[in-house]
Assembly symmetry: C2
Homo-oligomer: 247 residues x 2
DNA sequence: CGGAATTTGTACGTATGTATG
DNA sequence: CCATACATACGTACAAATTCC
């Protein structure tokens, strides 16, 4: 009675311990991109577990985008450079199981890209400004297929210019999630040509604001442009939520 | 020559096919939270693969937070309700391998929570407003340990009131990532009491703005408050990036 | 309360296709 | 082309854990 307070023990699987150790080595930088893990047979000796256990751990690491293993590779699994694939995957899952509405996704994109613009207007270099201008030029000359590529390129430069890697990755992830999820929902726009022309005009205005260093203006113009583009696809009752971001 | 153009085939692992099928069933809602998968032995018959292959698939699904399996459970693996754990994990990994700076993380939090405030000021119910007020009251009476709980509770209500589930989940994830990562970096503040008092005052101002329906003001006040709190910990040269969000 | 039945966790062996030198 | 080492996948076996009678 009154002895030491023991804590409940959570039995932790063998493969989990392996995942933890390798993950720690990668995240701490001890194992950089391109580095090789030992072969599965060696790993089972090092961790003194069976082959199955090693393999289960490797599968988890692989699903998190940290390593990749190929059959026949004389070296072991390869440590991969960081990729937002895992983040992309979990956000897509979130979008599907939480049944996110189109307006929620669009709203999120408005928030993140507007923030990127706000920062980019202050922090962009001359070179990045030129890249943005070049992307807008490509939008003008693009056809239906290459238009969105140029659009993505523009916002990609903006995100890079924001100087925030987290914003850069997340804008990219969110944009592709949005595009992927609405691809089916949105029937091909009847007046696609008109939409493209208006989008180009909007991008030129946004670019001018970034060039002038007016971040709030650039962000405002962008939000308006996104609203104009998607409002028609969003149910009436969800539109007020989008409008709340237009001030 | 000139025959049909064949496409390169990407060999896809057996376990991947299993993951895809079960994932699809869960994300489409065919398998809801609480549902049970067949036992591993049954699954190996259904998919006509070996047990190891089934297990590798289950491990991946488990690491994505979709299912959970316990030893001895006569039912199969359990389908879990959605949890942002996977999102949290990938964002933590991103933060570590991309070596995100404190200012990048704080900046991201400023963006997301400010957006939540902007929306909440318009869309909040009276009930939510009362919850926010109650959280602020708890901050006043809190000690060092419970203070941040009340703080989190406040922002959690705000995120819910934003009406955007994506924003709600992401603010939560980002906040805990920030807290987790700076826990070690930041030495216990010497003037913790003063910081707490100022934080309470800021929250009262923010709450008043939300009550008045002035989203932009609430967002501005919040960004300023976050800046004041963290600026001292951020290297001089990174501060301008944070200041860019204060307009 | 206890023991039987079932399931997961883990170990081990083997066959096969593949990449490297 | 061959030899080697590897990942992939299969099958069996047993221990530990859980449920149910």
């Amino acid at each position: 009675m009154g002895g030491p307070r023991f804590e409940p023990v959570r039995t932790v699987r063998a493969y989990e311990r392996i995942v933890e150790q390798i993950e720690e080595a990668i995240e701490s930088g001890a194992l950089g991109p391109g580095a090789r893990l030992a072969s599965e047979r060696e790993l089972m000796v090092q961790f003194s577990v069976s082959r199955s256990t090693v393999r289960e751990a490797l599968r988890v690491l692989q699903s998190r985008g940290l390593v990749r293993s190929r059959p026949g590779d004389p070296n072991g699994a390869e440590v991969l450079p960081f990729s937002p694939a895992a983040l992309h995957k979990s956000m897509t899952t979130l979008a599907r199981v939480a049944e996110l509405s189109l307006s929620e996704l669009v709203q999120f994109r408005m928030v993140l890209d507007a923030a990127a613009l706000l920062l980019a207007a202050r922090l962009r270099t001359e070179e990045q400004l030129e890249e943005m201008a070049a992307a807008v030029e490509r939008m003008k000359e693009a056809d239906r297929d290459t238009f969105s590529d140029a659009d993505v390129a523009f916002h990609d430069v903006v995100a890079r210019a924001s100087g925030n890697k987290l914003i850069q990755v997340c804008t990219d992830v969110v944009r592709s999630v949005v595009v992927g999820l609405i691809a089916g929902k949105i029937a091909a726009a009847p007046d696609e040509e008109a939409l493209m022309r208006r989008s180009i005009a909007h991008h030129e205005e946004v670019l001018a604001a970034v060039r002038a260093g007016d971040g709030p203006l650039a962000a405002r113009l962008f939000r308006r442009s996104v609203y104009d583009y998607y409002a028609g696809y969003v149910p009436e009752e969800e539109r007020i939520a989008l409008q709340a971001l237009l001030e």
